[in-house]
């Protein structure tokens, strides 16, 4: 049995839903003319999760024409039951913030400014930095002659913002490189 507490919804699928209005029998009455159009009417519903604390309130993202138009709590999730705190309630403008970083940026040694760069260039540069550092510094044997294969001079910090899948990818890549200095927010 699938759950729904949204009587106006026709069936709840696996994540992506479609909001339909108009058959609810509402008499919009005198005030109709002064009430703005429901901005989520006809929007696709997508289930996401608030990116903050580990209550992990589920969120419905309302999407129209590939654009996010609103967010609110998912009433079906048994833990938040549709509710959110101040941060969760501000998700919409958090996603639409103009302040967001939009492109890879580069700051050269001793420079006083950022430069926009392409992903191609940026990933190439980073790959070379990692390899050069690793090739120079990796410790194959310790003082006792034991094999250690340890790349000590590069660290990784972060992040609990990553999904489980991303954590798995990051962990595997780092141990492949021989990284031991790795840590994230669980330790602060």
């Amino acid at each position: 049995m699938q759950s729904t507490r949204r009587s106006f919804l026709k069936g709840v699928g696996a994540g992506v839903l479609c909001l339909t209005l108009g058959q609810m029998g509402f008499d919009l009455g005198e005030a109709k003319a002064y009430v703005r159009k429901l901005k989520i009417e006809g929007a696709k519903e997508v289930i996401s999760i608030c990116p903050f604390c580990a209550v992990q309130c589920q969120i419905i993202g309302h999407v129209k024409d590939g654009k996010l138009v609103s967010t609110e709590g998912d009433p079906d999730y048994p833990i938040n039951e549709g509710s959110l705190c101040a941060k969760g309630a501000a998700l919409f403008t958090m996603y639409t913030s103009d302040h967001r970083l939009k492109k890879p940026m580069y700051r050269a040694p001793h420079s006083d400014h950022w430069e926009e760069k392409s992903w191609e260039w940026t990933l190439d540069q980073i790959a070379h930095r990692v390899k050069e550092t690793r090739d120079r510094d990796i410790i194959l044997k310790n003082d006792k002659g034991q094999t250690v294969n340890r790349f000590e001079t590069m660290f990784w910090m972060g992040t609990s913002h990553a999904s489980n899948e991303e954590c798995a990818v990051i962990h595997q890549a780092l141990r492949g490189l021989g990284v031991v200095h790795m840590d994230h927010q669980a330790r602060v």
Partner: protein
């Protein structure tokens, strides 16, 4: 959390200590209030009165850093007044185990202490052994060296008077909390302890939590509905990122990092596979070799064979006893031993302690790669106030990351529920999710090793990797797969198919799993269970709000850990009104039990604490760095010169660093007489790097403030809203005074002591908002976890003539 969010409603007494749940887990407070609706008493023990306190039955102010004294007092109170649940204590804990003769405790120090290395020789704390090597057990609790009697003796010093003197809590208030919470020592009552960073961020963080274990075991509150020790995990996926171990000392699934002393897989497995002599102990970690080999198989695929130790040799090996954590990485950076670093989705130049040290250290890197939603104090450290960018050599690559709603995958909530989220919209601009950067980056590195060669290319080239990241593919890999056709209970699984549960994982290379705990989350039979949105429950499950069919939770969809401790030895629930599991007609009903075995009293029955070697929960924990019993020590930076529990003022084994930036004030230093505690707040997220860039949230909490009592404000000539300058031995910070009755002076050891509190959300990249509070906090760490003591340091403060950081 041993339990889960909804389960809090089943509690009869909710003790919130080391947490400000209403402000930091606001939606969780829904379930705390439901407990109250059902008749529970809510208590908040915390240095300041907060929005949590406002909704509790009472608030008890506690001097920051004295939780062990407070809780140790409760342990003493329970034992002295015979309030413990004896059946539970005798049957399910190591209270009955006899401790070896080398264990001793004298004047604040346990036996085996070496003052030169500041370390204990833990072999001195071993249990007495039988001829077969197993523990000596005295179920009569008469042996004076049994754990129960050692614990009674240890906490006999924690009298109401001593505790009150140190904590600043009146004896009346101590009794109020102790009485209300200890009432849950009855079999049919449950009390829950909710904690968060208020416990972990201390030089005695682990022992804070251990003390709560003592209380909850004495009262029989572990494993039951409405009970447990519940870490209200803060960060969005900190449960998952800990399970998948973005931590130096673990591999995914709580498997230790290989060390140089374990050169072969056999040596690793021997050292990491506990052995028990007790037939009634499930000793679940005896399965660890299967999980380790399945992890290696997941990482190296067909390249991992029995003959080559499944590529174990290729993994990095740490040095025994070496610390590779955040704080040590930064100290090594400070000392010029690091060349490059990745800092992703975290803002250490705001949220790390002693930030002036950290900011100076970061300048020493040759290159830095950041991946963020916004510029932060970390990404822009090279142009921070007061430094000339031209002097900083660091090359910085700043990558735009994707927000949660712009990607898909799973995360794990604090109650271990695995939850799928869909992608609603494409990432803004050229933003990418973390994995969409790591995968192509690693592929480029692989390509370089393939074409150019290099040092030790094998671990990189032999990996079972991917060309392009697909979240679902990795959810499946995490669950685990068969690498050869295998028959399980008469059903044939083909190579490449999903394993149904961790019970089928093997140490012969026939299975893989990137995290054994998650095995069973995506199966051939049921598909991706993290997408389940089914609210059906049996009437028994509905009574306690178990929701077993909504999403999936590790391990094996068990919603309440250690649930075998919720029933007596015959499988009968201690609380028949709120049963978690029950043995009925030859089988378990309710939650998924901790293992399929029948109740303890029956043939083949097992003890409830299956992750402990000997099946019993541990009052006495000989594995910790700072002693088998929690003991009160003052914070590394303390306003006191002595305390009544022992002559050992501070933890003898806490960790610290020694650069010129790592200053710690002397005990009771008159230059820094005021205690500072730091915290998050509702409207910003931790260091604020994300939420300060959300105008609607910045509107609600725009600038850094310091909360102080009217008494202190008057003493310092400060009025509400005035600018204030705070100083510690490590730095200086500006803030706006919030003068309030919510903080009041403490009386400690007969003297008045002031405490102030500050959030740490501010940072200089947000104009006029102030800069990080952490420039004041101390680089002293818990010896077990290396978590810094950001909850306590000593400062002084004065009214500011003018402000430069806040506009």
């Amino acid at each position: 959390m041993t339990n889960h969010w909804i389960d809090i409603k089943n509690s009869d007494a909710v003790l919130i200590i080391g947490s400000n749940a209403a402000e930091h887990h606001p939606v969780a407070f829904k379930w705390i209030q439901r407990a109250k609706d059902n008749g529970a008493v809510l208590m908040h023990v915390d240095p300041k009165f907060s929005r949590t306190s406002a909704r509790c039955d009472f608030h008890v102010p506690l001097r920051s850093g004295t939780d062990i004294a407070f809780l140790g007092g409760m342990v003493n109170y329970i034992i002295q007044n015979n309030l413990y649940f004896k059946e539970y204590v005798v049957n399910y804990t190591n209270a009955t185990f006899v401790v070896g003769k080398d264990y001793a405790f004298q004047d604040g120090l346990f036996s085996g202490y070496n003052p030169t290395t500041r370390k204990y020789d833990k072999s001195k704390w071993a249990f007495e052994k039988n001829k077969d090597g197993g523990p000596v057990i005295d179920t009569t609790l008469k042996n004076e060296r049994c754990v129960f009697n050692l614990m009674r003796k240890h906490y006999s010093r924690y009298t109401l008077k001593n505790v009150s003197d140190v904590t600043g809590v009146s004896e009346e208030n101590l009794r109020k909390v102790y009485d209300a919470f200890c009432a849950t020592g009855r079999p049919d009552k449950a009390g829950t302890i909710l904690y968060a960073l208020g416990w972990t961020q201390h030089t005695v963080g682990v022992q804070n939590i251990r003390t709560s274990t003592l209380i909850q075991l004495l009262l029989g509150n572990i494993g039951v509905a409405g009970g447990g020790i519940n870490a209200l995990r803060g960060e969005p996926n900190v449960q998952g990122s800990t399970d998948h171990a973005l931590l130096y000392n673990n591999l995914p699934g709580y498997i230790a990092l290989p060390l140089s002393s374990w050169q072969t897989l056999a040596e690793f497995q021997k050292a990491n596979t506990p052995v028990t002599t007790l037939k009634t102990s499930a000793n679940w970690w005896s399965n660890r070799p299967k999980y380790m080999v399945s992890l290696l198989k997941g990482w190296f695929g067909d390249a991992a064979t029995k003959e080559n130790d499944f590529c174990y040799e290729l993994l990095p090996k740490g040095e025994p006893g070496e610390d590779y954590s955040y704080m040590y990485a930064m100290d090594r950076t400070y000392n010029g031993k690091m060349r490059g670093g990745f800092v992703w989705g975290v803002n250490p130049m705001s949220s790390f302690p002693n930030t002036n040290k950290m900011r100076t250290a970061l300048d020493n890197l040759d290159w830095l790669v950041c991946c963020e939603l916004h510029n932060s104090e970390t990404t822009d450290n090279w142009r921070r106030p007061g430094v000339d960018p031209k002097a900083c050599k660091t090359e910085v690559f700043l990558l735009p990351s994707a927000h949660r709603i712009e990607k898909e995958g799973t995360i794990s909530n604090s109650g271990r529920w695995l939850q799928w989220f869909d992608q609603a919209v494409k990432p803004a601009g050229e933003g990418r999710c973390f994995a969409d950067i790591v995968v192509p980056l690693f592929n480029r590195i692989r390509e370089l090793y393939k074409t150019e060669g290099g040092t030790l290319p094998d671990p990189i080239l032999k990996m079972h990797w991917t060309e392009k990241f697909d979240a679902a593919e990795w959810t499946r890999r995490i669950n685990g797969q068969f690498w050869q056709d295998t028959e399980v209970n008469g059903k044939l699984y083909k190579r490449g198919q999903q394993v149904p549960a961790f019970g089928v994982l093997k140490d012969d290379g026939s299975t893989s799993s990137l995290n054994w705990l998650y095995a069973g989350s995506w199966t051939e039979e049921d598909g991706n269970k993290s997408k389940r949105r089914n609210t059906t429950q049996t009437p028994m499950q509905a009574k306690i709000g178990l929701y077993p069919n909504w999403s999936w939770c590790w391990p094996v969809n068990r919603r309440i850990l250690y649930n075998r401790a919720s029933v007596d030895v015959n499988g009968k629930p201690f609380n028949p009104e709120k049963p978690v599991i029950a043995w009925q007609d030859g089988k378990w009903v309710g939650d998924v039990p901790d293992g399929p075995w029948p109740p303890l009293a029956m043939e083949g029955g097992k003890l409830p604490f299956i992750m402990c070697k000997d099946g019993c929960a541990q009052f006495y924990g000989p594995g910790r760095e700072d002693g088998p019993f929690p003991e009160h020590y003052e914070p590394a930076e303390t306003p006191l010169a002595n305390h009544p529990f022992s002559k050992q003022l501070v933890s003898p084994v806490y960790k610290f660093h020694t650069t010129p930036h790592d200053k710690i004030a002397l005990p009771a230093d008159p230059k820094y007489p005021i205690v500072l505690t730091t915290y998050s707040l509702t409207e910003h997220w931790c260091g604020g790097g994300e939420t300060r860039n959300v105008p609607n949230l910045l509107e609600a909490e725009p600038q850094l403030y310091v909360e102080m009592s009217h008494e202190l404000a008057e003493e310092k000539g400060i009025k509400n809203g005035d600018g204030v300058i705070l100083e510690s031995p490590r730095g200086r910070v500006e803030a706006i005074a919030m003068v309030t009755i919510r903080i009041r002076p403490f009386t400690v050891m007969g003297k008045t002591l002031h405490l102030v509190g500050m959030p740490f959300f501010a940072g200089w990249t947000t104009p006029k908002c102030g800069d990080t509070t952490n420039r004041l906090t101390v680089t002293a760490y818990d010896p077990n976890t290396t978590i810094p003591e950001t909850k306590v340091c000593c400062v002084n403060l004065r009214k500011a003539d003018k402000l430069t950081e806040i506009g």
